[in-house]
């Protein structure tokens, strides 16, 4: 029973206004001429220029991208393996511990994850820098990847894999030629999730970063602690724009892929 009553319309309007207005205001004030963020002094793009000349921010951005690409790629490989183990490997010694270690990081407060990894790195004498941030990010994001991928593996027709094996594929070939194409959407969204989690993370990175490597969230956090600044608004606007374009593109692509798949299936059904 669908009713678009005035009540529903109002709650949707107010709800989405609440979700989006703060970001709209943030974007508007990034084009403010005045240094005082709260006083409107005319349109200007000067803060974007300042931002592009700010070496510290550019360096941090570069570190952040490197960490995100490396950690999300390793996490996707490890997380897909872990999902495969959880769904397909059957029983083995220590399976309970394994699935516990996959799910625990999802609910672990970031301060604890960060603290524990820092104490490990100090314990084994590993200097903190890009490498330690990558290790830390890989560890928590592989768990998210494995949850996303395993939900896809669960709803998957196993007879396809068995057919490939019967037709002479090795297990690895059957994985590469049959399983991987089918779970590919989940693997890709797992990678995207890992990538965003890494881009976004402040707490774990603060614990595991050293003086030689600072990520963008750490830089932003230390800047905004002192108060609102138009430069940070400009930086936020750029990040919001990238995410918006990315999400819309991804959803258009996946919609098109579903449509194509449906068409192929219909065509196959007709010829059969």
């Amino acid at each position: 029973m669908r009713r678009m009553t005035w009540f529903n319309a109002t709650s949707l309007t107010l709800g989405f206004a609440f979700l989006y207005l703060p970001m709209v205001i943030l974007v508007i004030y990034s084009f403010n001429e005045s240094k005082l963020v709260t006083v409107w002094a005319g349109f200007s793009t000067k803060w974007y220029g300042e931002l592009l000349r700010n070496e510290a921010f550019l360096d941090a951005a570069w570190v952040t991208v490197q960490v995100a690409v490396a950690s999300s790629t390793i996490a996707t490989v490890l997380g897909t393996m872990a999902a495969y183990v959880l769904v397909r490997a059957g029983r083995f010694h220590g399976r309970t511990l394994f699935s516990g270690m996959i799910y625990a990081p999802l609910v672990m407060p970031e301060v604890i994850t960060g603290l524990s990894l820092l104490l490990l790195f100090i314990g084994i004498g590993l200097d903190r820098g890009i490498l330690t941030i990558i290790l830390a990010h890989t560890t928590f994001s592989m768990c998210y990847v494995s949850v996303v991928v395993s939900s896809r593996l669960v709803g998957f027709d196993r007879s396809l894999e068995e057919a490939a094996l019967d037709l002479g594929c090795t297990p690895f070939e059957s994985f590469r030629l049959v399983t991987l194409p089918i779970i590919a959407p989940a693997v890709i969204s797992g990678w995207l999730l890992a990538f965003t989690l890494s881009l976004d993370d402040l707490v774990i990175a603060s614990f595991t970063a050293g003086p030689s490597a600072t990520t963008l969230p750490i830089k932003i956090f230390s800047a905004v602690r002192l108060g609102v600044s138009p430069e940070i608004n400009a930086l936020s606007t750029i990040m919001i724009a990238i995410v918006t374009v990315g999400v819309i593109t991804a959803s258009v692509i996946s919609k098109r892929a579903t449509l194509m798949q449906q068409r192929d299936e219909q065509a196959a059904a007709r010829t059969a």
Binding site: F7, Y29, F98, P109, I112, T139, V203, I220, S236, V247
Partner: protein, 296 residues
């Protein structure tokens, strides 16, 4: 053989970078603070063999935990984290439920767009979303300007750096976690049940209370846990929007570690935080399992 490789690679990774680090935290929480590098005692010295291991265990004690119970800062921080988490979960439910309901009642062709609009903020940086409220809530911020412009206030309201700002920040950032599970249950709701209730003389409002709310109970519970559990250990929101009076345990742990450099106490705070979280986490998993059984 291949199976062994497949299992052992992610297994060893998680052992080395999740379980062992946590055991180290546990161990340091039982150690003493020392003016050394690393700043705690004892350190495990395997070169002395069994004697060294025994001496090591003999020196561990619960002194840091005793310290946490004696200093009421920590008590207050734990309690106020629980309180802030509980109140903000309730507020998020009150804000999120009507949105989820509106989405479930919206025409079919709107829904993918509405879903995307709810998910989009989730992909946007958490830090930026929290930061966006700093410019709105400050004393010369957008909200105060607006309120004095419409003539509602003469003096700017102090909202930033209070608990009110923390509540607003939490509701704002965690709202998608509440909306999505509730929407998922409301979407499956069988409309004929509501029609039946109304045919049998229920008013719309009482049909809502007697039919819709109980049938969306699973989504409500899931959403509440998804907000409550992470909020307890929250750090970014209280440190940016909260004031000196905002006590939350994630912030205390951070300060204990970075400002006071007291690693054993920070570790003990972490262990206690985890103990507190275990109960809601187990309850949450039970709820999820019950739901899976009902559906499967």
């Amino acid at each position: 053989m291949r199976r062994l490789v497949l299992i052992s690679v992610p297994y060893l990774w998680l052992l080395a970078l999740f379980l062992i680090p946590f055991l180290i935290v546990l161990k340091i929480s039982l150690s003493d603070t020392a003016l050394a590098i690393p700043p705690y005692l004892p350190t495990l010295d395997l070169s002395e063999g069994w004697v060294g291991i025994k001496a090591f265990f003999a020196e561990l004690d619960f002194e840091n935990f005793r310290f946490l119970t004696e200093d009421d800062l920590y008590w207050k921080a734990y309690l106020s984290s629980l309180q802030i988490a509980a109140i903000s979960t309730l507020l998020t439910l009150l804000v999120g439920y009507p949105i989820a309901y509106g989405m479930a009642m919206a025409p079919d062709q709107w829904r993918p767009t509405l879903m995307m609009l709810v998910i989009l903020p989730f992909w946007t940086s958490f830090l930026i979303r929290v930061y966006s409220w700093m410019g709105i809530l400050s004393s010369e911020g957008v909200l105060n300007q607006f309120l004095s412009w419409i003539g509602l206030i003469d003096q700017p309201l102090t909202i930033l750096n209070t608990n009110t700002a923390v509540y607003i920040g939490i509701v704002y950032t965690y709202l998608p976690f509440m909306i999505l599970p509730i929407y998922a249950t409301l979407e499956k709701l069988d409309g004929s049940l509501l029609e039946a209730a109304e045919d049998l003389g229920c008013s719309r409002l009482s049909a809502f209370w007697l039919v819709t709310i109980p049938l969306s109970k699973q989504g409500i519970i899931a959403g509440c846990f998804l907000v409550f559990i992470p909020v307890i250990g929250e750090f970014v929101i209280p440190s940016l929007l909260g004031g000196s009076g905002t006590l939350m345990i994630g912030k205390v742990l951070w300060e204990e570690f970075f400002n006071n450099r007291d690693w054993p106490v920070a570790s003990a705070v972490a262990v206690l935080l985890l103990l507190i979280l275990i109960i809601p986490i187990i309850l949450f998993q039970r709820n999820e399992q019950k739901q899976r059984e009902r559906e499967g």
